[in-house]
Amino acid sequence: MRATRVPGEALARGHQATREAARPAGPQPAAHDPEAEGPPPTVGVLALQGDVLEHLRLLEAAGAHAVPVARTDELAAVDGLLLPGGESTTIGRLLELFGLRAPLQERLAAGMPAFGTCAGAILLGRATTLDDGTPSPQPLLGALDVVTRRNAFGRQVASFEADLDVGELDGAALHAVFIRAPWFEQLGPAVHPLAHVPTSQGEQAVVVRQGRILASAFHPELTGDARLHQRFVALVRQPA
């Protein structure tokens, strides 16, 4: 069976410099020492729809072997899975349609590490609501004990970028890009909030971790800062 391909690859095909040159500027991870940590873990990026290519690049930069995942056999071959931003309704529907939702839920229940960004975080949650708090019935995975509020900050005209202090990350504040972003509500007892944004409705959690599941409301792949990807790869390496 042929490996899943990613939109936009065709245009870049045959241009050897592309991957290097297109790597966004920003703090890059420290040199990786494979002998100290064993072989690189294989980390998948769910490649049904959304911002896939940039996550593959940053996971590689963080020391993982990164592969797109759109089929059950590809899912079975990864040690952890990143669920990218995109449209949560679209990705959720495609998960069901192509028979990936049940096997993905099984792997998550068995402890597979996961990292959801924006739409990916919505998919990992146990429930989601519209911006006004009314429930939004849509396919979810239910692995992360939070309720997400979709488009919580407003429509695209309210999308923003800001610096955030994120727990468990070393170094300076993380520059974060929020696009029609959700936030996390009703955090379960096992869920640790790692970053907040002050809003007119109080402090809202925008990065959370529950065991080896990480979720951010924003898009770390858009700035090229690989620290959250490094944190996730460390979680994948960490024994369950």
Partner: protein
């Protein structure tokens, strides 16, 4: 629409939050990649599109095939139509402004649309200038038939490009021509010596800095979708293989026999564009495709892709 006031972020640690930046505008288009954006004219069609897996809808009064049939001047949609569609779905809602018509764009931004399409499908309001898109908070998508046109639009502030194709025809041949033109010109730029890029910028009539960027990266600096004539799942998959990041489908869905089924099929074929078995499976039993009109039956005055400068 929800009567709740959007919750504006207050000050975060460090710099104050910034809205309407290039990164926020272009980054939104990144989230649409691998997806299908569908033209809809009412809330019912918008719900069908969302249910089928569209990543966004384009709110219109008439789809391009009907604009063609109707004739006359085509303008921005009635705000009531746009607001009704915004209220019906949770996915992003886009809307079209006439080329050069800054006030239509201001109105659309005030309605809170998520993206403005400065579109040749509507009757141009300015035959020399496009909208200065930089000052807007809302991002813009613009059409292009070649790389120079795409880079001029990006220079004006477009945060997303779509190849124009020929809207409302159901004939994919112009979309193919424009995708091949853009991709071919990008490939050519990557082969030039640095000192040859200045002459290339002159030939392309495009900003030098953008020509440099494309030559270095082998990509447009923004997401590239395709549009204009996509009518079948195979058409959509073909455009993805030519290098599109995603697909706009206008008249092709709601001018067909079974819109809900065709919409789902085009979404699935876009995701699995490189898997002929999936494209074959979803292409079965879709009913009538839009009848369409071959590009060669159109008078040059009926072609929309020539609008834009």
């Amino acid at each position: 629409m929800s009567d709740q006031t959007p919750s504006q972020p207050a000050t975060a640690p460090g710099a104050a939050p910034q809205v309407g930046t290039d990164r926020v505008k272009r980054g939104f288009a990144d989230m649409l990649k691998g997806g299908v954006i569908m033209d809809v004219v009412d809330p019912e069609q918008a719900r069908i599109a969302e249910e089928a897996g569209a990543v966004a809808v384009m709110a219109l009064e008439r789809v391009p095939a009907d604009i063609r049939a109707h004739g006359g001047v085509a303008r921005m949609s009635d705000p009531e139509v746009i607001e009704a569609i915004q209220a019906a779905v949770s996915i992003p809602v886009m809307a079209k402004a006439r080329i050069g018509h800054a006030v239509e764009a201001q109105v659309l931004q005030s309605l809170g649309v998520d993206y403005i399409d400065e579109s040749e499908v509507l009757t141009p309001a300015d035959e020399a200038h496009h909208i200065d898109k930089q000052p807007f908070t809302v991002p813009f998508v613009c059409g292009a038939t070649n790389l120079g046109e795409a880079l001029r639009r990006i220079g004006e502030g477009a945060a997303m490009i779509r190849s124009k194709g020929e809207a409302g025809t159901g004939d994919v041949v112009e979309a193919t021509r424009h995708m091949r033109a853009i991709a071919g010109e990008i490939r050519r730029l990557t082969t030039l010596a640095p000192e040859e890029r200045y002459a290339a910028a002159k030939e392309l009539r495009a900003p030098v800095d953008l020509v440099e960027e494309v030559a270095e990266t082998g990509r447009l600096p923004v997401v590239l979708f395709t549009a204009g004539g996509v009518a079948t799942p195979a058409d959509a998959a073909f455009m993805m293989q030519l290098g599109a990041d995603g697909v706009f489908v206008g008249s092709g869905i709601f001018k067909s026999g079974d819109p809900a089924k065709r919409a789902r099929a085009i979404v699935e074929a876009t995701t699995f564009a490189w898997d002929p078995q999936v494209v074959a499976k979803v292409s079965r039993g879709l009913g009538e495709a839009m009848v369409g009109s071959g590009i060669h039956t159109l008078e040059s005055s009926e072609r929309l892709a020539g609008r834009g400068w």
